[in-house]
């Protein structure tokens, strides 16, 4: 973990609620896709945890959904605004631990960290299958970006307005994959975890956080191997250790 200022250098609205933000600064603390950063916003006491969507040496890319007042403030910030940031938090996804054929499974804004993961897998010559679920076609984002990595994308929407009508779990059979990298809201994580088709996988969780770096025990969950802090020992847990 490092504490460092990041400067907003670019922002773009991707759909009604989701923004793409690029921030410039020292990203050296990021070691794996699926890690997150914790941003301090003027006038708010707690930091806001946001997954790393993608990064290079000195630019960090975030996809942020306006969920409340803090994310709204973040997405309304002007280019040039600087944010005190804790960087390189959490364990992230471990590509080396995937066996067999992998699918990236994203629900809503949970698709954000999967992009950086897909990019790194693609670079390693292993563009994964990607299954994404949204409420509606209007909520999608980054479909083109995933496609440009060479990923085979399947899409489900709850209202059927784009892709297959249904849930992301409905897409899994057609991928023929047996290992998943999964990020999304908790009910979706649970549903995917319950798919027998996936014999293994890594699941990224969300929890309300006090610190985001392991000090306060605010974000603890039970696992088969004892208590874990989502912020420090997670946010990514492997299939076999998860208890609901």
């Amino acid at each position: 973990m490092i504490q460092t200022p990041l400067t907003l250098i670019h922002k773009k609205q991707l759909n009604r609620d989701v923004w793409e933000l690029a921030l410039a600064g020292d990203t050296s603390a990021i070691t794996a896709p699926g890690q997150f950063v914790n941003l301090l916003l003027e006038g708010r006491f707690l930091r806001r945890p946001i997954s790393v969507c993608d990064w290079d040496k000195d630019i960090l890319l975030l996809l942020v959904r306006v969920a409340g007042k803090g994310t709204q403030q973040l997405c309304r910030s002007e280019v040039g605004t600087s944010f005190d940031t804790l960087m390189g938090l959490g364990n992230g996804f471990d590509i080396s631990r995937s066996a067999g054929k992998s699918v990236l499974v994203g629900g809503g804004i949970g698709s954000a960290p999967l992009y950086g993961l897909a990019k790194r897998m693609a670079k390693a010559g292993n563009a994964p299958a990607v299954a994404l679920g949204f409420n509606s076609g209007d909520d999608t984002f980054y479909l083109k970006e995933f496609a440009e990595l060479g990923c085979q994308i399947s899409l489900a929407t709850v209202d059927g307005s784009l892709g297959r009508k249904g849930l992301v779990t409905d897409l899994l059979p057609q991928t023929g994959c047996d290992y998943g990298f999964v990020c999304g809201p908790e009910p979706m994580l649970k549903a995917v975890w319950g798919c027998e088709q996936l014999t293994g996988g890594q699941f990224s969780f969300e929890e309300r956080m006090g610190c985001g770096f392991g000090a306060c025990m605010g974000c603890t969950c039970k696992t088969r191997y004892g208590s874990k802090r989502i912020c420090k020992d997670g946010p990514v847990l492997s299939k076999e250790e998860i208890v609901w």
Binding site: L40, F45, R208, G210, C211, A215, C216, M217
Partner: protein, 303 residues
């Protein structure tokens, strides 16, 4: 150069800045950010007899200039703390540590203190009779002078280390409780613990925290802490570790002027892992501007 050293019931600290229990874990995460030896001491996470998972999540909610927590004393239990964490902490911090002790019965407090008494790394025992996130038959030991005194007397019997009773702000008269602790033999008092609060999730129409209520900490708490330290200073003659909402060196001085001998910093560590380091570094300058050459001269200065 301002002399920042203070003495707490005979234990010398190089400065009055002490990370507060529950906001600093066992120091490990912060030791990645700075050398803990610049601190006066640190109070490690509240320890109970048995290992505890704590409360279900969500355990954290934001409030204006503060936060609620309902961690519920998650810790690996006193034996694991003594066997694994204490040696570790002693490597990271070479001065006397403050052991924060929880409990659900007088017997449990006594047992925990008896065990901690054997640990040379511990300079002070801080007995938390005020955790708002535990429901042991309603009230905690800190909400009533009699039970506060009972715990005090019982733990004093089993340890020679200085005992600081950590008091709850959720009471009508904190000075009365402090007096009861002093009369029962406490070497000092620590105050304040968190103020009981609640936030409600408008969409779900339920309390945000799984535990419903949680403890308020952070800057919002500062004026309440200053008032209570001031009141307790007039009521007792044992030293006070002040805390509640401290986020900068000026706040440390404000609590000392109110009557604190040393000051703990809690939620500020969560918001900014470098908070205590910054406070220590700024403290000398603030004292100079206030015209004091020994920081201990501030204690009680506003009375």
């Amino acid at each position: 150069m301002v002399d920042l050293s203070v003495s707490l019931a005979g234990v010398s600290l190089k400065n009055p800045v002490i990370p507060a229990s529950g906001t600093f874990g066992y120091g490990r995460e912060f030791a990645e950010c700075y050398d803990l030896n610049l601190l006066g001491s640190f109070s490690f996470k509240g320890t109970t007899a048995d290992p505890r998972f704590g409360n279900p999540t969500p355990r954290i909610a934001e409030t204006p200039s503060g936060m609620l927590n309902a961690v519920g004393l998650q810790n690996p239990g006193i034996d694991a703390v003594i066997a694994q964490e204490l040696p570790n902490m002693a490597e990271l911090f070479h001065g006397p540590l403050i052991a924060n002790i929880g409990g659900f019965s007088v017997e449990e407090y006594v047992e925990n203190c008896r065990k901690i008494d054997q640990c040379p790394q511990v300079g002070i025992i801080e007995v938390n009779i005020s955790c708002p996130n535990l429901h042991c038959g309603g009230k905690n030991f800190g909400s009533d002078p009699k039970s506060a005194a009972e715990v005090t007397a019982a733990v004093k019997d089993v340890t020679h280390k200085p005992v600081f009773m950590k008091l709850s702000p959720n009471v009508t008269d904190i000075a009365e409780i402090a007096r009861a602790c002093e009369d029962a033999g406490a070497d000092g008092v620590s105050l304040i613990n968190t103020l009981l609060g609640m936030r409600i999730d408008l969409k779900r129409r339920k309390p945000l925290l799984a535990n419903k209520t949680g403890g308020l900490s952070g800057p919002a708490l500062l004026p309440v802490a200053v008032r209570m330290v001031y009141e307790v200073y007039e009521a007792v003659s044992i030293p006070i570790i002040g805390m509640g909402g401290v986020s900068c060196a000026e706040d440390v001085c404000e609590l000392m002027l109110a009557g604190a001998t040393a000051v703990e910093v809690g939620a500020a560590n969560l918001r900014d892992p470098m908070a205590c380091k910054k406070i220590v570094e700024e403290l000398g300058g603030v004292c100079e501007r206030l015209g004091v050459s020994h920081i201990r001269a501030l204690t009680g200065g506003a009375h």
